[in-house]
Symmetry: C2
Subunit: 201 residues, 2 copies
């Protein structure tokens, strides 16, 4: 509750954005309350509407500036350039299991949540979300293609189909994990996905 002696617009914007991310993560976009967001970071409506034109744009900024960045760093960046994607993929699965927080078990994957909620009812949300999942699929696909060339991936593997399936299964694992309080379901899914990926070599 410290007083703000001075302006710090970038910090203010960042705080509101992060609070919006959390709020949307927990309640979904439509049920997210601007009031709660602002209360959580002690800012006013004036501050919010100075930095963002409306609720929808705030939501899109959460997707483009936070979710996109986080998903890329964790799930895509490691696959860039490798021509041996199987161990890299399995590392990602394992790392996700190891770093899985209670929050993630309970609230799932932000990308998945927003996709389920918004993709079908708002075109701009749909497009922003599609960019991320397309990029994700494409990243896996390219790594599989490089893997084929260097002999690390079987020649009859359908790179596109497999990539789609991997992404769907990960998101599905997050989703199903919500019906448990334990990470067990998620771990089981990652394990089976591991088997599946191993079968590609």
């Amino acid at each position: 509750m410290e007083s703000k002696e001075t302006y710090n617009p970038e910090e203010t914007r960042s705080q509101i954005l992060q609070a919006a991310f959390k709020e949307i993560y927990v309640y979904g976009f439509q049920a997210a309350s601007l009031k709660r967001i602002l209360e959580n970071v002690n800012h006013s409506k004036g501050a919010l509407y100075h930095h963002f034109p409306n609720k929808k744009e705030l939501g899109l900024c959460v997707i483009n500036e936070m979710i996109d960045v986080n998903m890329y760093a964790f799930f895509m960046a490691p696959l860039k350039e490798t021509d041996n994607p199987i161990p890299v993929l399995c590392d990602i699965f394992q790392k996700k299991i190891d770093t899985l927080t209670i929050q993630e078990i309970k609230y799932g994957c932000p990308l998945n949540n927003l996709t389920q909620e918004m993709a079908s009812i708002d075109k701009e949300f749909y497009e922003s979300l599609k960019i991320i999942s397309d990029k994700w699929i494409f990243t896996i696909e390219q790594s599989l293609k490089r893997g084929k060339k260097s002999g690390n991936i079987r020649n009859d593997v359908d790179e596109n189909g497999v990539s789609i399936f991997i992404v769907a299964s990960i998101e599905g694992a997050f989703g199903l994990g919500k019906t448990t309080e334990s990470p067990k379901f998620f771990e089981q899914c990652m394990l089976q996905l591991n088997f599946f990926v191993q079968s590609l070599k």
Copy 2:
């Protein structure tokens, strides 16, 4: 718009319930509007609150009386009693592809949608949804166990893990399908899932 000459309470309740299902399916539970539900079937608030105590209970009835029943009929009933689950599972996948509607591509799986939205923020929703997915997993698991006994399933297969993975992948496939207007993603996922299931024998 025919006039209601007489009372038909069961029909009224059923109409409201079906309209509620559609509304929740499209907009999610929290964003579902009772006004829109009632307008779509030309009933009044009095009728609604006569048959259901409140919005939440209406939502729970949609889960227990509609989603549960539909999911069971399509995904679980065929697996009951079989000791050769692989072709049955593949039949289910194929049938889902064949009967996939534009609605389902756009709006996904009602069970998945509600799970993503409500499981983490409301305990009663969580429990009703968990019952369905648990039953689903259990049904697959039992069929795999019978399959093992009769030699149709490999002996080193983890029935529980595989069942969890199948359910997660199907739900994930529905979810990812939302980012496309075509059934392509969904079909690809079912195809890969087919490969995975085939590897269990």
